[in-house]
Symmetry: C2
Subunit: 155 residues, 2 copies
């Protein structure tokens, strides 16, 4: 059983808010926040369709937001909270941005790059070590996603 | 020995031009182009430092450029030419964007996501199949990068 702090819960709720923002505009509900020294410095909400780009994942948007706020691409002391397990691309982006901790909600069996399809953060040869834990509000998040896809299928 | 067509050589030269553009502004010389139906529809030149973002890799910029030109995130019929083996993040981005073929120059032993650190495109469970070949103008590209780093070290 993974231990989550009260702060973890608080920040994941903010990531869930970002996921809800995505759903409101018809995007798959995935949200992320970047936290540094107890402050949210980046927010991201999935914009894959609206952005007409396969790369507009919540994590990417949140990392770019945080980088532009602090004026540096290094997010060494930051934690990323994201509702869904980051994909391969986002896992790579997290390593590049040197994010210290990743806390995710539900696993992504098809394309997850942390524990599912690949275990990117566990590659031993990597210089940068990312700590991660998953499963926070996993059921609530899975149910939010299910209900989004259910509505989508209705005419 | 990998076979390269005349078209491959032509497009890789364009990617090399993009790499040279990066070097001119003090960025590590990495360049990429996206080709669709015999036409270059996206170009990217490494902008990691200027963009103050760890995510501004040549491939990402070229993919976003191509997506915005065709108004779609799906690049099913496109090929990406890039001077350096794509990293984990870019390999993930290439899969997301459904790029069909990747042709790269030099391998990237430390972080390459195609043949070096990971073999992302070979993961069997992936729905989207990316064809790839590497080694085109590998020596010329390696020497261009070496000379960039050599100049950088000089006071």
């Amino acid at each position: 059983m993974t231990d989550f702090t009260e702060a973890d819960k608080l920040y994941m709720k903010e990531a869930i808010k970002e996921a809800e923002n995505a759903a409101e505009v018809g995007e798959v509900p995935i949200g992320a926040v970047v936290v540094c020294e107890g402050k949210i410095i980046g927010r991201g909400s999935n914009r894959k369709n609206m952005g007409k780009s396969a790369l507009k994942h919540a994590e990417i948007i949140a990392i770019e937001d945080a980088s532009s706020v602090i004026g540096d691409w290094r997010l060494d002391e930051c934690s990323l909270y994201v509702t869904l397990e980051p994909c391969l691309m986002c896992s790579g982006a997290i390593i590049h941005a040197r994010v210290r901790n990743v806390i995710f909600g539900t696993t992504e069996p098809k394309f997850g790059g942390v524990v599912s399809l690949a275990k990117t953060f566990d590659i031993e040869r990597l210089n940068h070590k990312v700590n991660y834990k998953g499963g926070l509000y996993a059921e609530e998040i899975a149910s939010m996603m299910k209900s989004f896809f259910k509505k989508l299928r209705k005419p």
